[in-house]
């Protein structure tokens, strides 16, 4: 259905990011970029959201949390790994307690490189995610 495409609600989780990517995610919601134009709402609640944005790498401390949050999102859902750390672990990849990127824990649909990721790239990733969302809905 086309409605999913017109109303992507996002939920933003900060893994162990340096806050650089987080700031850029929030920048998308400001008047400068205004993603509400596309119906994007930052819900702050996994149960209400369609798209999970994760910044920062996954470590042993938050692995459980990320899994729980992912489980609590209703289908169809997509995950976007924002920034180099989320995509691969980045410069923290070799740390003693870091597992690596988000895909070590939950399936990731879109990867965005960058340190920090640009707001334009983030918006672009959400648009890409919409296509994946639609496909997922068709499958179910």
């Amino acid at each position: 259905m086309a409605f999913l495409k017109r109303s992507p609600w996002i939920f933003h989780y900060d893994g162990s990011s340096c806050n650089g990517c987080d700031i850029e995610v929030l920048a998308c919601l400001t008047p400068m970029y205004d993603v509400e134009r596309f119906g994007v709402i930052n819900t702050g609640n996994p149960k209400h959201s369609d798209i999970l944005l994760i910044t920062g790498s996954i470590n042993r401390q938050n692995e459980h949390v990320v899994k729980t949050i992912y489980r609590q999102m209703g289908d169809p859902k997509v995950v976007i790994a924002i920034g180099t750390c989320a995509a691969s672990g980045g410069i923290f990849a070799e740390c003693y307690n870091v597992l690596g990127g988000v895909d070590t824990t939950i399936p990731v649909d879109v990867y965005i490189p960058g340190c920090a990721a640009r707001p334009e790239a983030i918006i672009d990733s959400v648009i890409q995610a919409l296509g994946i969302l639609e496909e997922k809905q068709k499958q179910t």
């Binding site: 996994p46 729980t68 489980r71 289908d75």
Partner: protein, 626 residues
């Protein structure tokens, strides 16, 4: 004519028989059968009276023989001696408690024996208000009596230290019926006074049943407070017989207001006192130390209802007078103050006690104004309140026996532990405040009736009603929280089920039945009310239908439901009542209701209500001539 008279005499005198029998038969199974048969008879008698006899104007029965009158005087003397007897162990410094009894009885008996009380001929009467009261007492009262059998069984198992005097306890229940029927069918205030003091005695016995220190203390507090009301009643008798020249209630109510105002105000004062309005609220709050059936009885069908009944009788004189407005304000103050006080309580019985005081305040408010619309609302309130409140007390009593606590916080998730009982309890709570159940119909009637008056009155009802909604809702929320599988706690409830389901069904049935009661009983009494408009009845009917049909939705299995645990910021662990703490260990979380002590603290509000009500009472008596 003769038939009705016999019927009424049966209702008044019959309860004495089981009361006496229960004192003599100690065997539990025989007691059980006595209670069952007697309750059925009392109940059937009340219904029979209601079916055969509806009297708008009132039917008065002459009694030529003087023997009854003599009996009442003798009864007064016996009662006085009993009061002195129960006070025998009081410390000397509390001499004023027996003194209260001595003063009033000495005056009344002296007046009676010296022939200063004017002769009357019509001692007994019946009208629709009496019939409605009889129905409330007969049906609700007998259901409570049946519940008592099962309850006392558990009670004495749980409290082996308390001497088992359950025969006396249930006998007191029937003595209560005797007194209540006496009050509502007597047309002479000397007679009403006799029965009035019996109810005081009965509640004293019931409150002090367990003989613990607290129970004894509270029972004596109830005794002296209620004797103050008795004193006012005695003063009303003296004034009525010496100045007004009559103790016939019908004649008194027909007299000129300026002549009869003082005795009527004294009786209203006694009514306010018995209905546990501020400043006398304390006795009813203390009454909760007693076994629960007695609270149910005191709060719903008997005792406090006698108080509002007498004010309702006085309403024609109070109508459109400044003193009457003061009576109404005492009720209004009690309504708002008690509702606010209930917000900060977490003891279920205390919440119920405060809500009783509040609801009775609303009835007194209606009676004090005394227009036919408010009286309409008052009668509806009496009916609905008796049903829902009895139900609530019995539920709380059962929960306390099964779980060992009546703390509302500990009732969290009760629906998973005692599903059926919780549903019955929800009916009771809904009956207390939610549309379309009875109390809300009454509140509606009250606001409609009061809107034509001074805006102060509807404002009181509106604010009190909002507070009421608040404290009932948060209790309801506690009950229905679904906490996941829990061990069941509702095994071992026996005959109580009968009383609980019976009252729940009646609370629900009272809603579709109110138009019938309205048309056949209240309308002849007080005239037409907008509550009988077909539109109104239809809307209430539809709402009730929805409330009854929608629960079937529980049985529909929704498609595609995906079960997930509650949101805990992702820190969920297997147990839903725990979360992952920052050091990786599972920590408990729990949830408490808000009680807003800061604004609704018992201490401050109670004192304020006391002062306010005393000022209003003083104003009431000083406005007697206005």
């Amino acid at each position: 004519m003769g038939l009705h008279m016999n019927w009424i005499l049966f209702l008044i005198l019959f309860p004495l028989l089981p009361a006496v029998l229960l004192l003599f038969f100690r065997s539990v199974s025989i007691q059980k059968w006595i209670v069952l048969v007697a309750s059925a008879l009392v109940c059937a008698g009340s219904i029979g009276l209601a079916v055969t006899c509806t009297q708008a104007k009132g039917q008065y029965f002459p009694i030529t023989s003087d023997i009854f009158n003599k009996l009442i005087v003798a009864g007064d003397i016996v009662l006085a001696l009993v009061f002195l007897y129960v006070c025998r162990r009081l410390p000397l410094k509390r001499y004023w408690i027996p003194l209260l009894a001595i003063v009033q009885y000495a005056a009344v008996v002296w007046f009676d024996l010296s022939g200063r009380v004017p002769e009357t001929t019509h001692y007994i009467f019946v009208d629709n208000l009496s019939v409605i009261m009889a129905l409330v007492i007969g049906i609700v009262g007998s259901i409570i009596a049946v519940y008592t059998i099962g309850y006392m069984e558990h009670y004495h198992k749980k409290h082996p230290e308390i001497p088992d005097r359950r025969g006396k306890f249930i006998a007191t229940t029937f003595l209560f019926f005797f007194a209540m029927y006496g009050i509502i069918f007597s047309n002479t205030i000397t007679w009403i006074y006799f029965f009035w003091e019996i109810t005081t005695l009965c509640s004293f016995i019931m409150i002090g049943y367990s003989r613990t220190k607290e129970a004894v203390h509270n029972s004596f507090r109830a005794l002296w407070m209620l004797l103050v009301g008795g004193l006012a009643f005695a003063a009303a008798i003296l004034y009525a017989s010496s100045i007004c020249g009559s103790v016939d209630l019908r004649q008194l109510l027909a007299m000129d207001k300026s002549v009869v105002m003082l005795p009527i105000l004294l009786m209203s004062f006694a009514g306010i006192n018995k209905a546990a309005q501020f400043p006398f609220a304390k006795w009813l709050l203390g009454a909760m130390v007693a076994p629960t059936p007695s609270s149910a009885l005191l709060h719903s069908s008997t005792m406090v209802k006698a108080g509002v009944y007498i004010v309702l009788r006085c309403a024609p004189v109070l109508h459109d007078t400044a003193a009457g407005a003061m009576v109404a304000l005492v009720g209004g103050l009690s309504f708002v103050a008690a509702s606010a006080l209930a917000v900060s309580q977490r003891d279920a019985k205390l919440v119920l006690a405060y809500s009783t005081i509040g609801n009775l305040g609303m009835i007194i408010l209606c009676a004090g104004i005394g227009s036919h619309l408010t009286l309409w609302a008052a009668v509806l309130l009496i009916i609905f309140h008796a049903l829902a409140k009895a139900l609530m007390f019995l539920c709380v009593g059962t929960v306390e026996q099964m779980t060992g606590s009546r703390d509302i916080e500990k009732m969290h998730g009760l629906i998973t532990r005692m599903p059926l009982l919780t549903i019955i309890m929800l009916v009771g709570i809904a009956g207390m405040f939610l549309a379309p159940f009875g109390m809300l119909i009454s509140k509606w009637a009250v606001i409609e009736a009061l809107a034509t008056r001074n805006p102060a009155f509807p404002v009181i009802v509106i604010f009190g009603g909002s507070l009421m909604l608040f404290f009932w809702m948060k209790w309801m929320g506690k009950l229905i929280a679904v906490t996941g599988p829990q061990p069941r706690q509702d095994e071992g409830i026996g005959i109580e089920w009968f009383a609980l389901t019976g009252l729940a069904v009646l609370t629900t049935l009272a809603v579709p039945l109110y138009p019938f009661v309205g048309i056949h009983m209240i309308e002849p009494l007080y005239g037409f009310s907008p509550m009988l408009n077909w539109n109104v009845i239809w809307i209430v009917g539809i709402m009730l239908g929805l409330i009854l049909i929608l629960p079937l939705g529980f049985f529909i299995h929704w498609k595609n439901l995906v079960h997930v645990e509650p949101y805990l910021c992702g820190a969920n662990v297997t147990d839903t009542h725990q979360f992952m703490g920052s050091l990786g260990s599972a920590r408990d979380w729990s949830f408490r209701n808000c009680y807003i002590d800061k604004y609704f603290s018992e201490e401050k509000l109670f004192r304020g209500a006391l002062v306010g009500s005393i000022v209003l009472l003083i104003l009431m008596f000083s406005m007697e001539k206005l």
